[in-house]
């Protein structure tokens, strides 16, 4: 029996023995059945063909079926002395939502932010049209399992026309000795004409054998605008699976920048549904991986209606024995004329022992469209290195300059500027080999151990 079967049976056993009070609603039951029918992925699945699943499954995990809230001040959890990056800060610790006074906060401008499951209780009419509706359980068994078993997460609602004055930051921090499989669910709704900057950080501190399975459901109403920066800085032994689903109405716009600075094993799925004319998605990704790190990005953009715009630009630098997979999929539906879609994936391999699988893919059922894609994988430009060295710049600095420039192509899309600057610094450190997971992040220079009271 392999690890995948063992975990599958463990989940089944846990659910069967706790069935009576486990599920909160019919959606969770349905999702569980979908999970059972899909099973955990194997390398025979097209979507997981090149992925080293054994790194994720040949491990032992404990499952927490009830996630209590943790009381504490999120900002004291992460101390930051270097950066003045002001945000509305929210966090989960080991998959548990952290709050000080109130699990769910309603702001003066009508914005609601806080614990997802508190929101389900308090605002069912607001949340029900979105939760379990945007993410598709059939997309993968990780999504189905998350729909079924996630008992904590973050909810954000931005009312019509509101422009949120500072970025909203959600930190998912793992800091535990117990090897755990953690499911976190986040739902974000940006109502008509509203604007928000959202920063999601997936970090880990000295964790071992953890698997974090995050599902983001995002709905952007007509004319809504979202800037979404996702940072990942994980330990070598950890696994992270994220699935982000975005539905966009007419003229809704998203600028998404994913930055992976360290990974254990990471799989990111991003599914964009362009459902209203004039919707726009600018999707950028940067991954800097070394040692035996694995990063797998799957991006699906569905042009379901005419006159939408999408750009995918993913870049990576790989060292040692790292593995990167990129699968970009653009589907232009019948009748989705005047679609403008572009995909690009570029990789720099610093050693011959790294591996890249790059598959940009276009599926087009309309005739009046502008679609293109490109992919390139190679070494640093030796001619450019010679040019820089001829001006007296040493080999190491010449290579760093080129790598930094390659990364800037993605980083330049990051807003606000304060965040971009700190990310520049992190990338610079990362390229110099000075950044380690948990050493420095946008918000915490180092994580302080904190005493937490568990609310029963």
């Amino acid at each position: 029996m392999n690890g995948s079967e063992e975990i599958f049976n463990l989940i089944k056993h846990l659910v069967e023995t706790n069935k009576d009070d486990l599920f909160l609603n019919e959606h969770q039951v349905q999702a569980y059945h979908t999970f059972l029918s899909l099973g955990l992925p194997t390398n025979k699945h097209e979507q997981w063909r090149s992925f080293p699943l054994e790194k994720m499954f040949d491990k032992e995990y404990t499952f927490k079926l009830q996630a209590p809230h943790v009381t504490g001040d999120p900002s004291s959890l992460f101390s930051c002395q270097v950066l003045h990056f002001e945000t509305y800060l929210f966090s989960t610790l080991n998959g548990e939502y952290v709050y000080n006074h109130s699990p769910l906060v309603t702001f003066e401008n009508g914005m609601i932010a806080g614990s997802l499951f508190e929101a389900i209780k308090l605002y069912p009419n607001l949340i029900n049209p979105y939760i379990y509706q945007i993410a598709s359980n059939l997309h993968s068994s990780f999504v189905a399992l998350n729909s079924s078993l996630a008992r904590s997460g973050f909810f954000l609602y931005i009312p019509k026309g509101i422009h949120v004055d500072k970025p909203i930051q959600l930190i998912n921090l793992i800091n535990t000795d117990i090897p755990s499989w953690i499911n976190i669910r986040n739902v974000i709704v940006v109502d008509e004409g509203a604007e928000v900057e959202f920063v999601q950080c997936d970090d880990s501190v000295h964790d071992k054998n953890n698997l974090v399975n995050i599902v983001n459901e995002i709905y952007l109403h007509r004319d809504a605008q979202m800037k979404f920066v996702k940072l990942q800085n994980k330990d070598l032994e950890t696994s992270l699976v994220t699935s982000t689903f975005v539905h966009q109405d007419k003229k809704a716009s998203i600028d998404y920048v994913l930055v992976t600075l360290n990974s254990g094993v990471i799989r990111n799925d991003l599914v964009i549904e362009l459902n209203g004319e004039g919707a726009r998605a600018e999707l950028d990704g940067l991954y800097l991986v070394d040692k035996t790190q694995v990063v797998d990005n799957h991006v699906y953009v569905h042009h379901n209606v005419p006159a939408c715009y999408s750009r995918q630009n993913f870049r990576g630098i790989l060292d040692d024995e790292a593995l990167a997979i990129f699968r970009g999929h653009v589907k232009v539906a019948r009748g989705a004329q005047q679609t403008d879609a572009y995909q690009s994936n570029k990789n720099i391999l610093l050693t011959p022992t790294t591996r890249v699988f790059s598959e940009p893919f276009l599926e087009i059922y309309a005739d009046d469209v502008k679609c293109s894609h490109g992919s390139s994988t190679g070494r640093l430009d030796e001619e450019a290195i010679f040019y820089l060295k001829q001006r007296g710049i040493c080999e190491r600095d010449a290579r760093l300059l080129l790598m930094y420039a390659f990364a800037q192509n993605i980083l330049e899309h990051i807003e606000p500027l304060t965040l971009k600057k700190s990310l520049d610094e992190m990338v610079d450190k990362r390229l110099k080999g000075e950044l380690h997971p948990c050493a420095l992040c946008v918000l915490h220079c180092e994580s302080k151990p904190l005493e937490f009271k568990i609310k029963i």
Binding site: D381, F386, Y387, Q390, R391, G392, A398, Q408
Partner: protein, 249 residues
């Protein structure tokens, strides 16, 4: 200053330079002329240390064995190459590039790095040698520069880095007459009686502005004829066929 002796260079078993010798003293300007494919650019690359060549013979610069030094060490020793085809480096801004290069040099001289203000003041000063548009400095290195801008940028870098030996590899190619005059005037302003130049060119027209002390004609991997500026004029009149005829005789 520079002494090249019995230089043999090949790339992938193909011999390109076949017994080349040249001595350059401080302050001298040597022009190397010759038809395409005769090994002129290879010579420039071997002096500056580009990898990929099998080299026999010796190159000594200021008493040091150049062939044992890496590209950047040679550059910091004071050797500069004005590239025939300057490389575009997307994402690396001119300012970052120039400051890094300049500060490397200052480090070697035991000087502190320049502040951004001091750097910009120096840039302004060097514009007296060759004018480059301000926006060029804000752009990525050579990216989207016109042919003329690229060559001007090379000379500007030379002015900033103040090398002891400058090798100009077909700096005149692809320039119209006005750009040629600008570039050549820049180079002339850099002549100070101490700095040496090796000027590689097909044509005499660049030499009208930078009068060389010596003219060497390179053919099939070696110098076949040396003389003064008169030789360049003769070559211009008779063409390279004249050299071939003389060789056969």
């Amino acid at each position: 200053m520079l002494e090249i002796k019995d230089l043999y260079v090949s790339v992938e078993e193909k011999e390109i330079i076949k017994g080349f010798s040249l001595t350059v003293k401080p302050g001298e300007v040597h022009a190397i002329m010759g038809p395409n494919g005769t090994g002129k650019s290879t010579l420039a690359y071997v002096i500056t240390g580009k990898p990929g060549y099998q080299v026999r013979g010796s190159i000594v610069f200021k008493g040091k064995n150049l062939l044992e030094m890496d590209v950047d060490e040679r550059a910091r020793e004071g050797i500069f190459l004005s590239f025939q085809y300057p490389v575009e480096i997307p994402g690396v801004s001119m300012v970052t590039f120039l400051r890094t290069a300049l500060n490397e040099k200052r480090k070697r001289l035991g000087l502190p790095p320049l502040s951004p203000g001091e750097f910009m003041a120096l840039v302004k000063e060097k514009k007296n040698i060759i004018e480059i548009p301000d926006d060029l400095l804000k752009r990525s290195v050579n990216e989207g520069f016109s042919g003329g801008e690229k060559k001007r940028n090379e000379i500007f870098q030379m002015a900033l880095l103040e090398p002891e030996l400058a090798v100009l590899d077909e700096t005149d190619s692809g320039l119209d007459i006005d750009a040629l005059r600008l570039v050549a005037t820049g180079v002339s302003k850099m002549r100070d009686g101490k700095r040496s130049f090796i000027v590689i060119t097909h044509y005499q027209r660049l030499l009208d502005y930078i009068t060389p002390d010596y003219v060497h004609i390179m053919y099939d991997g070696r110098i076949v004829k040396s003389g003064d500026f008169q030789l360049a004029l003769e070559l211009e009149k008779h063409g390279y066929a004249w050299i071939k005829e003389q060789l056969i005789k």
